[in-house]
Structure formats: structure tokens, C-alpha cells
């Protein structure tokens, strides 16, 4: 497989729950091109689902919800963002919140953009170590 360098895949959908499945499917499809196990792909799918739902629950957006995927040699980076949120962002007691607990179990790194202007959730999933793939 060609080793991906700095490709970025960006998908925007209307900020509605009904469109989340598109972002989920794109994530899985990009992840499947990397040496990521099927369990990892499924985790990513769940994570994008959760991240979108989290933002949508607080989101206020006319223009949409955006997913950016960056496949790298050793990991896949995914970022879900929305224009603005109602109320404080990141939410108080961030690490005690359910979405945080769920997300941190599903991915290798997790961060939340504290910029109120563009709330986003960034996550990465590592690929399998080269020696372990065939």
C-alpha cells in the first residue's frame, strides 16, 4: 500500500443527526485503507458517532458539521468540528463527562479544541506496527 503522506479528506454535512452516518462511513472507508485492524476501524466509527453527537447536542450551526481526516504513516487523525456551540465549551468537568470517557476508551489520543469560535474534537488512532502487518 502506498504510504499516505499529507493527504487530507474533508467532508461537510448539514448539522443534523441524520447525516452523521455519512461521516461515519467515510471514516471507516479511509481507515480501512490503512493498516488498522477491523476492531480499530469499528472503534473509530463509534468514536466519530460519539463526537458528532456530542457536538450536535451543544452545537448551533447554520453551515454545517465538518470531518477532516488525515491518514499518516503511523496513525489516522480525525477532527470533527461545528461552527459554534451554545454554552461553555469545552464543557465543565470535561473528563468526567460521558462522551469523554467513551471517546478516550475508543481512540489513542483525544483532545478538545477550546477555541469557542470553532469547537472541535480531535482524535487519533494508531496503525498496527509495521512488523505486525503482513
Amino acid at each position: 500500500m502506498a504510504s499516505p503522506t499529507s493527504e487530507v479528506i474533508t467532508v461537510s454535512v448539514p448539522p443534523e443527526a441524520g447525516y452523521v452516518h455519512i461521516l461515519r462511513a467515510v471514516t471507516a472507508s479511509v481507515a480501512a485503507r490503512l493498516p488498522i485492524s477491523i476492531d480499530g476501524v469499528e472503534d473509530l466509527r463509534l468514536a466519530v458517532d460519539e463526537a458528532c453527537a456530542w457536538l450536535l447536542a451543544r452545537g448551533r450551526s447554520e453551515s454545517g458539521m465538518t470531518l477532516r481526516l488525515r491518514p499518516l504513516d503511523d496513525r489516522l487523525e480525525a477532527e470533527v468540528s461545528i461552527d459554534a456551540v451554545d454554552g461553555p465549551w469545552p464543557p465543565p468537568d470535561l473528563q468526567q463527562s460521558l462522551p469523554w470517557k467513551i471517546l478516550s476508551a475508543l481512540v489513542d489520543t483525544l483532545s478538545v479544541d477550546t477555541d469557542v469560535g470553532s469547537p472541535s474534537i480531535r482524535l487519533t488512532k494508531r496503525t498496527l506496527e509495521p512488523s505486525r502487518t503482513t
Binding site: M1, E16, A17, G18, V20, H21, I22, R24, A25, A28, S29, A31, A32, R33, P35, I36, S37, I38, D39, G40, V41, E42, D43, R45, L46, D49, E50, A53, A57, Q96, S97, L98, P99, K101, I102, A105, L128, R132, T133, T134
Partner: protein
């Protein structure tokens, strides 16, 4: 009579019957019945959400079903209107998908791929000593990676039990076998403060949640331990998280976003 907006559960049956007796001539009575049961229509429409249809369209379809139900309901019959309405509305929603050519069932080709994935996953995992990649699964199944993904997504998007047959031999309900000291309830209590609905989850769902989030098992490992396919684990997780989320968001309003676990999570 303008105070009939009540939650479904406490709908006054006498009010309901009285309104039905004023049909079909009394437009106001009809209107009032629509208002009373619109939440039911919306609720059922949500159950069909996530199949790529805008929710408003589904609510529209469900409302048509509701109107039909109101017009056809026979008060003399010994059945609650809500029951009758639910059946009619669901029928209308299903017909809607059928008419659009969107099979509610997983297409045959994807079913076949899905079944093959189920069969191949455990053996590949064993051979490799880890969970296989999509490409590895595709090669073994003689399908494209896209087909593998489609099959897996289909299992998420469409409710079907066809892929859920236990991967094991005779398929004894593994949960029963596990029985006894189930640590998941106690440990998941940690989540109960943020997600009270954890306590409402059926045992199997709670256990899958526990194995994934507290024991850190992979989906394949959970599949093995619980005795269902990996894809089924994936769906259980996805639906359970969505249920918890709904329950957190709605804060006591059962008509918003709720995914009734009784029906949806307990298919097998």
C-alpha cells in the same frame, strides 16, 4: 376541552373514546386526537431515523399514518388506540421505505458477505494473533474492502437479525452460562452519575459495555467472550451508546431521541 396535551402514558382513555365518538364529522375532535398522538408519530419516526432520510420527512410519513389510524379506528374494538396507531404508523413508515426502493432488509449480496466475514473473523484473528485489517478480511472473503465495509455498515444501519446468529456451534445463550457474579453492574455505577440509564440496560448490553470500556477488550475479544459475532458486538455498542446519549440528552423526556432498548437492543 383544550387541555388534552398529555404524555402518551397518561392519556385519558375516556377523553380519547369521547373524541372518537365525535368523528368523523367533528373536525375539532380529529384535530385534538392528532395533537394527542403526534408525539407517538414523532417517536416512531425517530426509530426509523439514521437510514439517511431527513427526520422531518419521516415525521411527515408517520403523521399520515396517524391520520389513517384515526380515520380507521373502531372504538368498539377492544384495542387501545395507541396500539392500533403504532401498528398503522410503522406500517406507513415501512411502506415509505419500500416505495422508495430502499429495502429495510440488508441486500442479499451484503448478507452473504456479512456471513462470510462472521465466519472468517475468528479464524483470521487466531492465525494472525491480532484482529485482522479490512484488507486482510477482504482477501480471505474474496470480496473487496468496500464490500466488507458496506456489509458492516449495513448491519449498523438496518435492523436485521439475519447476521446475528451465534458464531459458536449450537448457540446456547452465553449470557446465561456466564451468570453469577457479574461485576459489570457495580463498576458501571461509576457511569451512573453521568448516565443514569446505564441501570436500565439489559444484562448483555451492560456486560458488553463493561468489557469494552472497563476491561478494555477489543470488539473481537468481546465477541468471543459473549458468544456473538464481532459485527453484533459492534451494533450492540453503537446502539447502547446511542441509547445512553439519548437518555442523557433528553433529561426525562421520553419522547426525545430515546432509543427504547427494550425493542431495539434485544433482538436476539
Amino acid at each position: 376541552m383544550s387541555s388534552v396535551e398529555r404524555p402518551i402514558g397518561s392519556t385519558d382513555r375516556e377523553v380519547e373514546t369521547e373524541l372518537f365518538k365525535r368523528l368523523p364529522d367533528d373536525a375539532e375532535a380529529r384535530e385534538q386526537l392528532v395533537r394527542m398522538f403526534l408525539p407517538l408519530a414523532e417517536y416512531l419516526a425517530r426509530r426509523f431515523d439514521r437510514r439517511g432520510e431527513p427526520l422531518e420527512d419521516l415525521v411527515q410519513v408517520a403523521s399520515v399514518g396517524l391520520l389513517n389510524a384515526i380515520d380507521r379506528f373502531d372504538v368498539e374494538r377492544d384495542v387501545q388506540f395507541s396500539t392500533y396507531a403504532a401498528v398503522t404508523i410503522i406500517g406507513e413508515l415501512k411502506r415509505h421505505f419500500r416505495d422508495k426502493g430502499w429495502a429495510i432488509r440488508v441486500p442479499r449480496r451484503l448478507q452473504e458477505v456479512g456471513l462470510r466475514v462472521n465466519a472468517v473473523l475468528p479464524e483470521l484473528s487466531q492465525e494472525l494473533g491480532r484482529s485482522p485489517t479490512v484488507e486482510e478480511i477482504a482477501a480471505r472473503c474474496e470480496a473487496s474492502p468496500e464490500e466488507i465495509l458496506d456489509a458492516m455498515e449495513a448491519v449498523q444501519a438496518y435492523s436485521t437479525t439475519s447476521l446475528d446468529s451465534p458464531v459458536g456451534e449450537e448457540g446456547a445463550a452465553p449470557i446465561d452460562v456466564l451468570g453469577g457474579d457479574d461485576p459489570s453492574l457495580e463498576i458501571l455505577d461509576g457511569w451512573a452519575s453521568v448516565a443514569p440509564a446505564v441501570k436500565e440496560l439489559p444484562e448483555r448490553e451492560r456486560r458488553v459495555l463493561y468489557l469494552r470500556f472497563f476491561r478494555g477488550l477489543t470488539q473481537s475479544e468481546i465477541a468471543k467472550e459473549v458468544g456473538v459475532s464481532q459485527m453484533h458486538v459492534s451494533r450492540i455498542l453503537s446502539q447502547t451508546l446511542s441509547f445512553l446519549r439519548g437518555a442523557v440528552l433528553e433529561e426525562g423526556d421520553p419522547l426525545r431521541e430515546a432509543e427504547p432498548h427494550g425493542a431495539d437492543l434485544d433482538e436476539t
